[in-house]
Symmetry: C2
Amino acid sequence: MAEVRITGVRVVDLRFPTSRESIGSDAVNKDPDYSAAYCILTTDSAFEGHGLTFTLGRGTELCVLALEYLAQYCTGRLLSSITKDFCAFSRLLTDDTQFRWMGPEKGVIHMAAGAMINAVWDLYAKVEGKPLWRLLAEMPAEQILAAVDFRYIDDAITRDEALAILTASSDGYDARLRQLEAEGYLAYTTSAGWFGFSDEKIRRLCREGIADGWTHFKLKVGGTAEDDLRRGLIVREEIGAENKLMVDANQKWGVLEAIERTRALLPLNPWWMEEPTNPDDILGHARIRREVAPTRIATGEHCHNRVMFKQLMQAGAIDVCQIDSCRVAGVNENLAILLLAAKFGIPVCPHAGGVGLCEYVQHLSMFDFLRVSGTMENRVIEFVDHLHEHFLDPVVIRRGRYIVPQMPGYSIEIKAESLAEFQFPDGAAWA
Amino acid sequence: MAEVRITGVRVVDLRFPTSRESIGSDAVNKDPDYSAAYCILTTDSAFEGHGLTFTLGRGTELCVLALEYLAQYCTGRLLSSITKDFCAFSRLLTDDTQFRWMGPEKGVIHMAAGAMINAVWDLYAKVEGKPLWRLLAEMPAEQILAAVDFRYIDDAITRDEALAILTASSDGYDARLRQLEAEGYLAYTTSAGWFGFSDEKIRRLCREGIADGWTHFKLKVGGTAEDDLRRGLIVREEIGAENKLMVDANQKWGVLEAIERTRALLPLNPWWMEEPTNPDDILGHARIRREVAPTRIATGEHCHNRVMFKQLMQAGAIDVCQIDSCRVAGVNENLAILLLAAKFGIPVCPHAGGVGLCEYVQHLSMFDFLRVSGTMENRVIEFVDHLHEHFLDPVVIRRGRYIVPQMPGYSIEIKAESLAEFQFPDGAAWA
């Protein structure tokens, strides 16, 4: 690898006024302005590393300020000095002796760490001339493990167990790679079922979705019981029994209410119930799961670190692990979570949408298929069709599947003109 | 109550350069500069409401920025419009539809909510002319419950169960009040056992502590096994078998290591082992507790909300509940946690120290004694002898006990000259 030195970090408060059209509305997040604290690592070469953490508008300035603080841990460093001991770099960000008090490893400061770590991976992949999924997939197991922080999870997965998982993946690797490049990775659509959409709009979007080749549809629930069921039956009617319908309550309910409301949706035959209650409630999810079986339980987009994911798995709380590319500390922590999920035999179906999440997570699922779980069975990546036009290397969806990205990097770089237009509060979009 | 309108919020980034003397050092927090995001609610009367959230220096600016954002939810409001439906006010701060994405209810934004909610309680108590503990203790049960958010905890404690706890407390109330005013509340000292102190200093401070009437001593551990044991034996030798020694690892270990290291400290006969592992690891704490019995397990200072405290109790993970006055959303959320602890029969021993934590938590423990748990058995409040000179109404300790505060308010108001001197980065202390 060419020696590249990181010379500076530019941070942008980027906000898209999506709330003007009720895009992304759900039972809890009623008016999101899809936004990001966005950072650019400048270097002494032609390469830049880009990374972002996804936010909903107000408060993005907090993640921006956190990124400006964390910039000191990148600036001036050789890229290779980071990548050769990537776990140590991650700990620099998460273990700052004063800053960590506001976590540790959660919320604003952890999301900022995620943006920065992802930017380093973007830079690394660009310098190596590979899309991130391929960079990871072609890495020796030992190098992958050197990026993983086993602290606080080694009671659930040891380094040796993780090594065994990665080593076993060489069996059938070539066939999986051919399959992935030929077929892509199955996606599901959330675009038909936002909370703010009318019955007619849902029906029309389901029909269009079926025509476009979609097989998995998600509906936002958490309204009245009658509304939820009626809307769900419309989706089921339109997509038929052979396709999948998932429902998502976005944390709306307490544990007991979640049990009652999930049971009431059984006539929809949901493929999963997502975020039935508070994201911190591991034992609550476990109880809900026991009491609503056979309905499967999914969560993760608000799960703030690997210690929480570990417990969701240990407690038997989830059937589906929904990793998020931004909320945890970037690629490194997601490697830990993918390995935990493989150990526990839980399928990973990433959270996406927002801005940049689809671009990010496709790489993680493809790597998971090639090197960790080794399967795409019961696995789908969320897709929402917003804001992709702002990316240099946007996701490509064909007949309900993610097509494998080929451009070097982590696909997260936003066009310079979009950065200028949507910069908050000075961009033209906010004038 | 006189009608008082909140006219504005002033936020101060306040930092004390305590790291210059290794004060507050432990195995993880090696160089804290005890700090606070501090807010002042100005009103159309002579009263002001003061509140702070405790931080360790760098990053305080994030909580300051969050407080400046949350100020909109106070400004212009009648105090009575907040206090008559205090839970609704708390939800305004925690449920902001865009801001909550960076939580929910955790980290920077939740700590800021805590400072603001505490400031409202300070104002409320001043207007009522009572110290906070008395304001709460004299409140009708229904009014106390109107401040509690039962969302996400009603699977563990119902409103009716909480009402029964508060109602039962009328039995013996007068006797408890007399006892409290006569005896104060038992404290323990952390000042003798900081991580950075030499053996000689620990020995000297223990002797001084015994001479001053202290009966409970805490030692920071998490160094080498030999160092921890040697230092612990020094404390035990100095304080004797009849006094209590607690050990505190400040999250240093993984679960398996914590089990091994806690067992190794059994010769010290520790009264509790505090923060043996990651604060998010509910199941980890439960496993440690099972495997190190009879050593008792304590945690809570990094427990970020009532949903996590609920699970620590449901999982049988803790013997001692260490509430923090700042990390959760202020008095309201601590009311929920006190009620949960009473339901589960777990003693509350607050985390204190830092700046202002002792001033705050004495009120919560005294209220707990008078109206919730009804007992001081096996309960102690942490005490650290730093920075009290900056407060208008500092804690008073006599022979190892907190003396009941009498000045109206939440005892958290810092002298104007201290605010000026330690304001970061412009105060004289930082010049």
